[in-house]
Symmetry: C3
Subunit: 270 residues, 3 copies
């Protein structure tokens, strides 16, 4: 494991805290509070707005757009596409968390539709979800990855090449492929898998970092590393998933340079 | 208080943790996170999906369906019925939490409609809600029970006989009637009444246990006992309702055989 | 800073706890749980109900109606107006939290529409939101105040005079104008600005107090003071925004006479 000299994760976090970008979410009703609050404790300003009548305008003042189909309806997906096109026009990053893709036709079709009709700068999902979108043999049980055949790094790389964007695939090791580069992030704690919302909040933080760093693959890798480090710190302070969740917010809010620099576990390939 | 020799509550919990059934919820927007998270910390996999276009398919891969009308609309109720029929066809358990029944005509009519158009395997509510559905003199203030005239055990038994299902009536003493048997569960802590969502999460856990045990009355009683035990443990670690909530998740996640066997307070009648 | 002899904030809190008024919310999907839970720990009964078909009936049994446009749609705004008219007819207080007014046309227009079509007894917002509604030079970034030119007290007073109601403007110092009186509340902790939902929950507590005290300006000031005191107490027990949030619920639940009387920081002008 070598420390990446060209990844100034703390520097990016500092920019988020200093510039407080507005992160416009169109997300699900389960983790909507968590996405907003994690965005806030990382230093950015969350806004959740899903009315067809205002999404273009809200995206118009945002630093990033985060989409999440965790509790999708066809109407909401159409609204996401409207917002994504507005984000594309302004060239602000669009992060799309393809929650549950593979579990139902509606989810798979909706993910495909979003990818077809708008530019998604960072496509995020668990191993199963990304596997399904890459055409690999993969399974999703509800919103959980339930298996992916083949080499996950190859799957991420192939899909990233095909979509010409960044793919962030979260799991035991997070894999980020984009701009011809693959990052492997080994930060995080098993406790993060014991609560609901870990994946959704990760997409929010990717949005925060992409709002301040143009290299979206680098930004996504740094975001996942910082987020994972906060999880690691929190797990040492928790007695279970309930106290972990609160400690996670505390740790994210308090992240400092020495924690990030000493704990960062990111490998860069090719 | 005698320990039930024929109730292996810990064994059921172990099955939940081992088989990780998918628990499909169509629920309310207030406690949707809590229902998902409590399901998760008990060891099952939650999924929240309410689009008309996907509910049959999602129910098709689930181990149980949990319905909750806490923030109902007529459209959502129709979708619940579609999902319940799909669950009935697959013979997976349908748990219905009749939140607020009695407070408005829409809630009472919707509860009646769900019970009329699909089979509900476990009907859950507080004393007031179940009382209203049983035709007893009962009152509901918003989503709180505000009184029930008559013997609650008789009310539960009568409604269970009429619906030929299991009725789980939650309150100071939880009453479960089904399969000709009535269970009284005295686990729980007053602190559980000081936070929002206790009842909704109870329905989720009933869903988890019914997914692994075919005797739904037994499963519901065991679920409420384990859930109440977690609440009791948490109340000893809390300084108020906020820290209680987090300790509740911790305690549920950590529940072990000795806690359950030493703390179980279930009586079985007839 | 002088203690207000004519403000018995603890007495009002006691009335809330004793009479447990039902607080009907039509609110947003981000902080809906927090609004419900804070209402509960302050001693009142929350109910969240947004179906067009039941809002009049639910408002019909409530002690106050709290509206919040944090995740509005045009349909939801129409439903809010229906509920507000029902509340007006029954002369129960209507509290309206104008979340995000100024950030998009939909939000500003919807806030104006609600104010035009129903009587709002307490209009709540941050400095930016109230500034926009008062026609001052003010800016709102998402749901955050991003500046207000001019004297905030004058802005609140002018808008209150124009609407003939109470205006509660929250920020470092909370300003409440109504009934020809202005209150300045200096309770609160910077930590309250580090989590999502602080403003929304404040509106809920204003609803609780207005349900038991007919002088809505006095009730709003007392509510914000008690709420701020709970925040101050919580901040001394917290290690960051996560633990703060739980401690906030604990502190609110436990608020006692000596805390309130020793910590109250309310000034009354004219």
């Amino acid at each position: 494991m070598r420390r990446l000299n060209d990844m100034d994760a703390y520097g990016m976090l500092g920019k988020v805290r200093q510039t407080k970008p507005l992160i416009h979410h169109i997300t699900n009703w389960v983790t909507i509070y968590d996405c907003a609050n994690m965005t806030r404790v990382f230093g950015a300003l969350p806004v959740m707005a899903h009315a067809r009548e205002e999404v273009e305008e809200m995206t118009g003042i945002a630093g990033a757009l985060v989409l999440n189909i965790g509790t999708l309806t066809p109407e909401l997906v159409d609204t996401m596409i409207v917002a994504a096109k507005a984000a594309n026009k302004r060239k602000i990053p669009v992060v799309f968390d393809a929650v549950g893709t593979g579990a139902t036709r509606l989810r798979t079709d909706s993910a495909m539709k979003i990818l077809a009709e708008a530019r998604v700068d960072v496509l995020k999902g668990n191993y199963g979800e990304i596997g399904v979108l890459a055409g690999a043999k993969a399974q999703v049980k509800g919103v959980e990855s339930a298996g992916l055949e083949g080499d996950p790094q190859q799957v991420a790389l192939r899909l990233s090449s095909q979509l010409k964007n960044t793919v962030a695939m979260t799991g035991r090791t997070d894999i980020v492929s984009g701009n011809g580069t693959t990052y492997l992030i080994d930060n995080g704690s098993p406790m993060m898998g014991c609560i609901v919302g870990t994946g959704c909040m990760a997409a929010s933080i990717i949005g925060c970092f992409c709002a301040v760093e143009e290299d979206y693959a680098l930004a996504s890798a740094a975001a996942l590393a910082c987020y994972g480090i906060a999880g690691e710190i929190a797990s040492t302070r928790a007695e279970g998933p309930g106290t972990f969740k609160e400690a996670f917010y505390d740790a994210a809010y308090g992240l400092n340079r020495s924690e990030i620099e000493s704990m960062l576990k990111v490998r860069k390939l090719r």
